[in-house]
Amino acid sequence: MPFFEAVKLALSSIRAQKLKSFFSLVGVLIGVTFLIAVVSIVQGMNVYMTDKFAGALVGVNTFQLQQQPNFQMGPTSEEQRREWHRRPRITIEDAAYVESHMKTPVIFARAGFDQEPVAWHGRIAQQIQLNTVDAEYFRIKHWDIAEGRAFTPQEVTANAEVAVLGWDLAQKLFDGHDPLGQTVSIGGLPHRVIGVVEEQGSVFGFSLDKFIVTPITSPARRLTNRPHVLDNLQVQATDPTLMRAAVEEVDELMRVRRGLKPGQADNFHIETSESALSTWDKISKILFLALPGLVGISLVVGGIVIMNIMLMAVVERTREIGIRKALGARSGDIMAQFVVESATLSMTGAVLGIGTGLLLAFTVRALTPLPAAVAPWSIGLGVGLGVLVGIIAGVYPARQASRMDPIIALGHE
């Protein structure tokens, strides 16, 4: 019997018993739902982490020289943390040394950070990210100015008491008033607002626009670190291909400056978007390792259910098998008919599973800050697994059917 006929026949058998068919393919449906939903969410996270998280929080082509790593979501030992804390801080002198010796073309921005309340006319915004930085910081962060202007290198040199606001802060604090020219108090220190940065959006529901930027020489600098101490030195390669060379050069310069011997570990940290993503990589690897187990169990259960349904179908349709054999169906035709039916049943489950999986993934995306993106390979894999489970589950029942004696089958009531 031609393949197409067999599929048509299978679909009509499935339609004839919709409810039973549905229950028999629930296992496969759940397995594939799992596969699609988890892969879509992990894939979405991947895209998100690479594009937005790393881009927004670390910066494109950018790395930071600092005392210790920023993003360490995984477990770290107490000993490791103590070692980080014993390390010397990065100083203005370190930054000057690196800047003056650096050969790879890069731009630098010294930076110090803190959380501070910002107040204007009796209104107070708590827990605002204070960035005390060089003028190049705006370029490194790719921050465009929505209103007013950024501060200049001259203003940094002149210890200007100026500030640039993040979008959310400007909205919250000024609530419709023009912030330009107003004086805000940062932890009690007055600064004049000269600009507002364009809206940056959010990462995992956390706003990227609740910040205030002042020159690293402004009075607010005192709030961030002791004199001469920096939180980090931001370095941006002027070209992506120079990124690795720049990282290596900074590492080498710092080792020389700190007098580290070959074989001795770095007592500073270079944070790249790669190192920020490494933790996420670990998490996504664990998810991908756990996934085959979850999917596998559902598919095995689904396969067993389908096998049982097919065995029942073979018994119920004994007479039909007898008729077909009497009319000239060979054992192979009967075998193919039931294997195709089983595979079609299972694949229907897989296709429905893809639908519910995508629905689930996009529901998660709509209702939570977790992103989701469809991985085309997961859809292919879902359909493929569905067909495979159906074929494996169908072989034994189909064999039973194909081996029936037509005389006995025809006499069956």
Partner: protein, 237 residues
Amino acid sequence: MNEVVIKLEGITREYLMGTEQVRALRGVDLEIRRNEYVAIMGPSGSGKSTMMNLLGCLDTPSAGRYWLNGHEVSRMQDDDLARIRNREIGFVFQTFNLLPRASALANVELPLVYAGISGRDRRRRAETALQRVGLGERMHHKPNELSGGQRQRVAIARALVNEPSILLADEPTGNLDSTTSEEIMRVFGALHAQGQTVVLVTHEADIAAHAHRVVLLRDGRVDSDRSTPPRAAEAAA
């Protein structure tokens, strides 16, 4: 005389029923020629059903040889037997044996599917076969939308569609009332008149009376084999 279509030589068939050896056929010799109309009769236990299964290539003999249209089918394996059933035999059963979910047309197409004939050709030939048995108007009905007589006509159309060497009918009127039975027997008579070889297996004498030759089985052997004059009614048809 026409050529021989069926030739049985010393056919025996034994099988185990529980622990008991049953000898259903004990050496049957028989020849049936093209365009004969033969009834195989006998009381229950005479080996009639076994004979029907062997003639229809659903079963193979324990000993002896069977040639169908020149092929020795008594030594064939399952797949070859399936092909012979498909090409050479048209079955008509007492219980019709139609697929309940398929239309009359689809039922008639079924042997053509296994013969590997393409969709459009299949449909044309199935339509012709249904018209031959007078069901041209009800091709898209399902079996449960048809009367018993109509169902048996669909079965006859299905048996004919592959132009088999023999039409093999097992108690074809067993589930029909007497008026419908006569109607079905007229269809067989007409097909025979058009040149079809017909073999009826029955225990009813008035059905067997439609045939031109009656082979009587008793205890697994041919008890009598005689030609009968065609009935007036059929001569007219």
